[in-house]
């Protein structure tokens, strides 16, 4: 029936170069949209198999008269098949923006469609819902907002049982949600949050994924931190979300991706993260991280980075909460497997999605900053050298090394000797003041806590490396201090 066709364009229709070009264009458009804080994406559910079965009719542009005829037939036709057929034709027409415009301008059209949506003919309901779905996906605000009279019914149907129908309603709602604040101002009092909270108990994976999508759209809204997230946190949604993120045989990747993003939007809004922590968010996410690291080793699965990204973000942000300290003792978050998992993921990201490496390193910083335990894990698991490999990616690597070194001689001892010195000499050759500054901080700690470090530094022409920066304003004082220490102890 209405199963989702994913995977982008069919190779028959577009060459590889065209695909790449399209992707670059899309990406540029999205970056621009994000900078303008207008990042909005809708999903379109279309069953291509169904469309092929309908014998390759191309979406047509229909005029008023034709639309009226379809509606009349759908409403008052005597033969069921006839009525259904009329709506199917209408739906195909509504794939065209022109037909959409004509449709919404026709008096009574939406009213009729809503009537069909709530009729007692199940198949008419479905087709009417598909028509609404096409409208909801439009780029024209007027077309999307024409769907508003249907929302109370879409929400009512979320408590039903027909999984395909509910899935469709959810994707439609998700598209409506992102359209504008005006739409959300209607949906919220209509009870969208309780409706979603009831619906999340569905056993159907397709429904759950659709729900996660709709919820993520709701949570991404600009006004979400003030107007939406508090009521979401007050509902049973967070507990169910966390349950759906529990690793294990029941974990479904598509569902997990959606709810991980939902959690990210909630957490980075900083409304009440302490509540999430008491509900076990840190624990669940930690276990999920471990699971992800296992998964990336096992399969060449496309898309694991789509789950890794929000998980890394959620963990990193949650670790900054005071409440995290309090529960730290009980959790996996003392478990060195977390560090092992993170590095396995970093390696994976290096190949699959290097742009996400800074996010992984951010988590590493938050793990090691105030934790002797995790700093020790980094050392005992021999991860310093792999870490140094990422120096060119981000200077957070240096920050992490400083996190380790500042804990004292026992730590610096384990950092030395090894590739660290030569790496530092390399970074001192950079012109980036930030990078050099961090390197200087690390050097101070090493000179302080590790006897012999200064000597070795001198022997490797460290002084010359420092000299380059003697005149740089932000670096001078530190350079001189190090020079003094190296020469005079």
């Amino acid at each position: 029936m209405w199963s989702r066709q994913r995977g982008g364009l069919k190779p028959l229709r577009c060459g590889v170069e065209q695909l790449r070009c399209r992707r670059r264009e899309r990406e540029a458009a999205l970056r621009k949209a994000r900078r303008e804080q207008q990042l909005v994406s809708k999903r379109l559910l279309r069953d291509e198999a169904l469309e092929e079965a309908e014998e390759g009719c191309v979406a047509m542009i229909f005029g008023e008269a034709e639309i009226q005829q379809f509606l009349r037939l759908a409403q008052r036709g005597t033969e069921e098949k006839e009525r259904e057929g009329a709506l199917v034709s209408l739906r195909r027409g509504l794939q065209c923006p022109e037909t959409q415009q004509t449709f919404i301008r026709l008096e009574g059209s939406i009213r009729t469609l809503v009537g069909l949506l709530t009729s007692n003919q199940a198949l008419l309901q479905l087709e009417a819902a598909r028509c609404l779905h096409e409208l909801s996906h439009s780029e024209q605000s007027a077309v999307v907002e024409a769907c508003l009279p249907a929302t109370s019914y879409l929400l009512t149907y979320l408590s039903g049982h027909s999984s395909d129908f509910i899935e469709l309603c959810l994707y439609t709602l998700g598209n409506l949600i992102v359209e504008s604040e005006a739409v959300r101002r209607q949906l919220l009092p209509q009870g969208i949050v309780p409706a979603l909270a009831a619906c999340i108990q569905s056993p159907h994976l397709t429904v759950l994924e659709a729900l996660g999508y709709a919820l993520s759209q709701l949570l991404q809204a600009k006004e979400a931190p003030e107007k939406i997230i508090p009521s979401v946190l007050g509902s049973t949604l967070p507990q169910h979300m966390l349950q759906l993120l529990q690793p294990g045989p029941k974990l479904n990747l598509g569902v997990a991706v959606e709810f991980a993003w939902c959690l990210h939007y909630i957490i980075c809004s900083q409304v009440n993260n302490a509540l999430l922590i008491t509900q076990g968010a840190l624990s669940t996410l930690g276990l999920l991280l471990l699971d992800l690291a296992g998964a990336v080793q096992r399969t060449e699965d496309a898309g694991l980075e789509l789950l890794a990204c929000p998980v890394l973000r959620c963990l990193s942000n949650l670790l900054t909460e005071a409440a995290a300290e309090a529960v730290g003792g009980q959790l996996q978050l003392r478990d060195e497997r977390v560090v092992a998992a993170l590095f396995i993921l970093l390696q994976f990201l290096l190949q699959k999605q290097p742009s996400l490496l800074p996010e992984g390193l951010w988590l590493l910083n938050n793990l090691t900053a105030n934790s002797p335990s995790f700093c020790t894990s980094l050392l005992s698991l021999d991860l310093i050298e792999p870490l140094l490999h990422l120096l060119s990616v981000s200077n957070v690597v240096l920050t992490v090394l400083c996190n380790v070194a500042e804990k004292g001689p026992a730590y610096c001892q384990r950092l030395w000797p090894g590739p660290l010195l030569s790496s530092l000499l390399d970074t001192l050759a950079f012109s980036d003041t930030e990078v050099v500054g961090q390197s200087l901080e690390l050097l101070q700690l090493l000179f302080l806590y590790q006897p012999g470090a200064a000597q070795a530094f001198l022997q490797q022409s460290g002084l010359q490396a420092l000299q380059r920066h003697e005149e740089v304003a932000q670096l001078q004082d530190r350079v001189h201090a190090l020079q003094q220490t190296a020469l005079h102890g």
Binding site: R35, S162, V193, A197, A302, N317, L379, A410
Partner: protein, 292 residues
């Protein structure tokens, strides 16, 4: 980036960690001109740091990226065409040639059906509310003294004295349409009793049969007539104005003199058939009177 070979084994191993090394800080560390101190870093929603990941997320939403998980993970139900079959629910003759179509039909029309009056509802919640408000005599008694009409929006705990008050609340507070199809007031005409549905489907029963069928005796003498009239009449089938359920044919509402919108016709939906020999449609008491 080469990872130590033991790392993967460690991941698969037991939870736990080595004893942390002793921390011993020198006060000189991080003092001027140096400034390092370990710091937890947090990023708020709109921070540029998130740009790359957000863009990836949206490329995925727009289907430009490949779907998550390989084929086995993606739950997908085939659109199976099967030899024609009929809905097995008593009284329904709908025919199908695809299982998914049947699933939706069943859930929409047969899943949440009131066993008293056979109306179908889109959800269990609405069905429960309907039974309470239409078929529970205790409800009627209590409603005389306290607010019993519950708001239909899940999560809203408000209760109202009358169904009209509730409707007003739905419109004002919850921005529901004034003609929300799942909230039509029941025309209060005395008690509505539970009736054995088998008797009612026949068009030729007598009052004697009716009394035998009643599971509750009428509390008010003479109410049997009224109940019968109601039972046979408009209340028996989804009909104008008073149905709080999935409506039958939806017709464009025509302006009514009383200003009340009659959105439903008297016709029994074609999907319901009443067995051999039965005429399609009831002769309602109301109509009968009109014709006489």
């Amino acid at each position: 980036m080469q990872l130590p070979p033991a790392l993967h084994a460690r991941l698969a191993g037991a939870p736990g960690s080595a004893e942390p090394l002793p921390v011993e800080r020198d006060p000189a560390a991080g003092t001027t001109p140096f400034s390092f101190a370990p710091r937890l870093v947090r990023f708020p929603r709109e921070h540029d740091f998130f740009e790359d990941g957000d863009v990836q997320r949206h490329l995925y939403l727009q289907d430009v990226l490949t779907q998550v998980g390989g084929a086995p993970e993606r739950p997908r139900r085939p659109s199976a065409r099967v030899p024609e079959f009929t809905c097995q629910v008593a009284g329904c003759c709908q025919v199908f040639d695809a299982l998914e179509d049947y699933e939706h039909h069943y859930h929409a029309l047969h899943r949440n059906v009131c066993s008293f009056c056979k109306r179908a509802f889109p959800s269990g919640h609405l069905l429960d509310t309907h039974i309470l408000e239409w078929h529970d005599s205790l409800f009627q008694i209590l409603a005389e003294r306290q607010d019993m009409y519950q708001c239909l929006v899940e999560g809203c705990t408000e209760k109202f004295r009358t169904s009209r008050d509730r409707k007003e609340h739905l419109v004002m507070r919850h921005l529901y349409p004034a003609d929300f199809r799942f909230d039509k007031p029941r025309r209060s005409r005395g008690q509505d009793f539970a009736v054995d549905s088998r008797i009612i489907w026949r068009t030729d029963f007598s009052m004697g049969d009716f009394y035998k069928a009643l599971s509750i005796s009428p509390a008010v003498p003479g109410a049997a007539e009224q109940v019968l009239a109601e039972a046979l009449g408009d209340d028996r089938a989804p009909s104008e104005g008073d149905a709080m359920e999935v409506c039958s044919e939806h017709v464009e509402p025509s302006p009514e003199p009383a200003g009340e919108r009659r959105a439903y016709s008297h016709r029994i939906p074609s999907t319901i058939c009443f067995g051999q020999g039965a005429s399609r449609g009831f002769k309602s008491a109301k109509k009968r009177n009109k014709h006489q």
